[in-house]
């Protein structure tokens, strides 16, 4: 067990003595600082360190002793003289003196009001850059996509199908389950509110309108952003960190062809399919609640739906799916390609990927709503 570090300071002739006792190691020196600081002022040139009763000693202990001497009025010029025998005290004191170096001041930018504007300015500049780069990547993807259509041998079918399975098909269970619950929730809301007016049959309209036009496609896009978009960013980002993307470029493989475009195409194909599945299960949720809570039989539900809900609502919902798919995939790939060398940037980029994708999906949905309203669809 380590012996506690203590010391005794004696005024002797010709010079004072600092006698070290016990183990002076990184574990034991924590409490000594203040006392040693007081001693430092009394150290005169020629002071001696007595190490005859010193136990274990290490660099941290040596540094503390050396610092005490450097803080003395005589300053750092005096060599630390030793009395007594110790296996490594002399070596360690020498090493500590030789390497002593003050920690550098932490650099900091402007503070106060200037710092506030500095931060805001940087954020705005970064935001502008981010938008330009994302739109740039979208344009590049479109150009390559058109080129690929003209030259189908460039299309990487294996990657596309692989991404379709991992990012699309494997998301099917979670998408249909969540959409089912959402359909149930909407039907319950309708049952609660509309039955007060004796208009509970309009629950059918409510469920059909909201699920077909909005909820199915939104829930699909948001889940894909959280589930598959984050995976795209992490994959591409990790490849960037391990220089795999540089390796691709050197070999002559365009990372756009191999990584970005297949992901965008796969999402473009899978999102409408998932949206369709989400619509169907959403309606199922609505049908079950209407049946249980309102006594509207499934046959009646479907019959009324066919009567009052025009087919165009289905197409309005479906038409948004490809747009959301491209937004999620392009944002995810862009963030992945922007990952730097360090782990922190990977985490930041995955976060940005999900946040930006969900933000973009909801913003686009609002714009779509406005447009469809104006077009009276």
């Amino acid at each position: 067990m380590a012996a506690a570090a203590t010391f005794a300071f004696r005024e002797e002739e010709p010079a004072p003595v600092l006698a070290l006792r016990g183990d002076w190691t990184v574990d034991t020196i924590a409490g000594l600082e203040a006392d040693l600081h007081a001693v430092a002022r009394q150290l005169k040139p020629g002071a001696v360190v007595d190490v005859s009763e010193l136990g274990r000693f290490d660099v941290a202990g040596a540094y503390l002793v050396d610092r005490t001497f450097r803080e003395s009025p005589a300053g750092g010029e005096t060599r630390v003289a030793i009395r007594g025998k110790h296996e490594n005290a002399l070596n360690l004191l020498g090493a500590a003196r030789k390497a002593a170096s003050a920690p550098a001041e932490k650099p900091h930018g402007p503070r106060g009001i200037a710092g506030f504007f500095d931060t805001v300015g940087r954020m705005m500049a970064a935001l502008g850059e981010e938008i330009i780069e994302t739109v740039g990547l979208l344009g590049e993807t479109l150009v390559i996509f058109v080129n690929m259509l003209a030259n189908p041998r460039r299309i990487r079918w294996v990657s596309i199908v692989h991404v379709m399975e991992v990012a699309g098909l494997n998301a099917l269970p979670i998408v249909v389950i969540l959409s089912f619950f959402l359909g149930m929730v909407v039907a319950y809301l309708g049952a609660r509110i509309l039955s007060d007016f004796g208009a509970s049959v309009f629950t059918v309209d409510l469920v059909a309108f909201s699920v077909l036009r909005e909820f199915a496609v939104l829930v699909t896009a948001i889940l894909l952003a959280g589930r598959s978009g984050s995976a795209f960013t992490a994959e591409i980002g990790a490849m960037k960190m391990r220089q795999e993307i540089d390796a691709m470029r050197v070999i002559g493989i365009n990372p756009m062809d191999a990584l970005v475009v297949p992901r965008v195409i796969a999402m473009l194909v899978m999102t409408p399919i998932l949206t369709f599945a989400a619509m169907m299960t959403g309606l199922c949720g609505g049908i079950i609640v209407s049946w249980g809570a309102l006594g509207i039989s499934p046959a009646m539900f479907i019959g009324r739906m066919a009567e009052v809900v025009p087919e165009q609502h289905f197409w309005v919902g479906m038409s948004k799916a490809p747009a959301f798919a491209v937004a999620v995939a392009v944002i995810a790939c862009k963030q992945g390609l922007s990952v730097g060398d360090d782990v922190a940037s990977l985490g930041n980029r995955v976060t940005s990927s999900v946040v930006q994708a969900i933000f973009m999906v909801i913003l686009m949905d609002a714009l779509f709503a406005l447009w469809f309203l104006e077009m009276d669809w």
Binding site: T25, A30, A60, N88, N91, A99, S101, P103, D341, D342
Partner: protein, 249 residues
């Protein structure tokens, strides 16, 4: 004398599935020496290092620290991993402070001073203190990693390929730094390497791992003199001869 043995490995066996990496491996590391461990790629050098520091459990056999057990304490270990493994969200100075923060009650001021001292011992100046690991060169990262390994004043220092990826001058400086530190701080160093210059320049003894065992152990001259098979190819190939000539003068 068993008191002078810092690390004792006896009957070590390591197996991953059907693949046997070590079979009945014995090795003694003396206190205060720099032991170089060499061997072909995939012979289990890094695995042995991981087992000694406790990151991995061997299939069979035992690893003890006789010198420290005689004093009834556990040795302090410092490990430098191949590419440094510095925490990328901390600055260089914070990386070195991290072990101190975790294991001691030292005041913040003294802690950062000790960290600066360790960095300076490893040859890094104050301009690197507040940079992130991604902002400094590979050679500097290795030095920072050594400083972190030394943060708690270990008695046993493990270095995994310390000079890999460094230019010859940087590698030589790094070797000299390792040797100085080992001597002035009284460290026992377990050094996994492929660098023949390092073996010649600073290793007191060399252990050759081959076929799951320590195939040869001794000073580099002893090993080169009695070399057979793979060991001979290793030390008397063109690189081995050049390194030997350079070290011989």
């Amino acid at each position: 004398m068993s008191e002078d043995i810092a690390i004792r490995v006896r009957g070590l066996k390591t197996q991953f599935g059907r693949q046997v990496v070590h079979e009945n491996l014995d090795l003694d590391v003396r206190r205060g020496e720099i032991l170089g461990v060499v061997g072909p790629s995939g012979c289990g050098k890094s695995v042995l290092l991981r087992e000694i520091v406790g990151l991995q459990t061997p299939t069979a056999g035992e690893i003890t620290f006789p010198y420290f057990e005689a004093e009834h304490r556990e040795p302090r270990l410092g490990v430098m991993f191949q590419d440094g493994a510095l925490f990328s969200n901390l600055t260089v100075l914070e990386n070195v402070e991290a072990p101190l923060r975790e294991h001691t009650q030292i005041s913040a001021k003294l802690r950062s001073e000790i960290a600066a001292l360790k960095l300076s011992m490893a040859g890094l100046g104050a301009d690197a203190h507040h940079k992130k690991p991604a902002q400094i060169s590979g050679g500097m990262r290795k030095r920072a990693a050594v400083a972190r390994a030394l943060a708690l004043d270990p008695e046993l220092l493990f270095l995994d390929e310390p000079t890999a990826g460094l230019d010859p001058i940087a590698a030589e400086n790094f070797d000299r730094m390792t040797q100085n530190l080992a001597h002035s701080l009284g460290l026992t160093v377990f050094l996994v390497t492929h660098d023949l210059d390092t073996l010649h320049a600073i290793c007191d003894r060399v252990a050759v791992l081959y076929g799951g065992k320590v195939a040869a152990l001794g000073t580099i001259e002893e090993i080169a003199a009695g070399a057979k098979g793979w060991v001979k190819d290793y030390f008397s190939g063109p690189r081995g001869r050049a390194a030997g000539r350079a070290a011989g003068g």
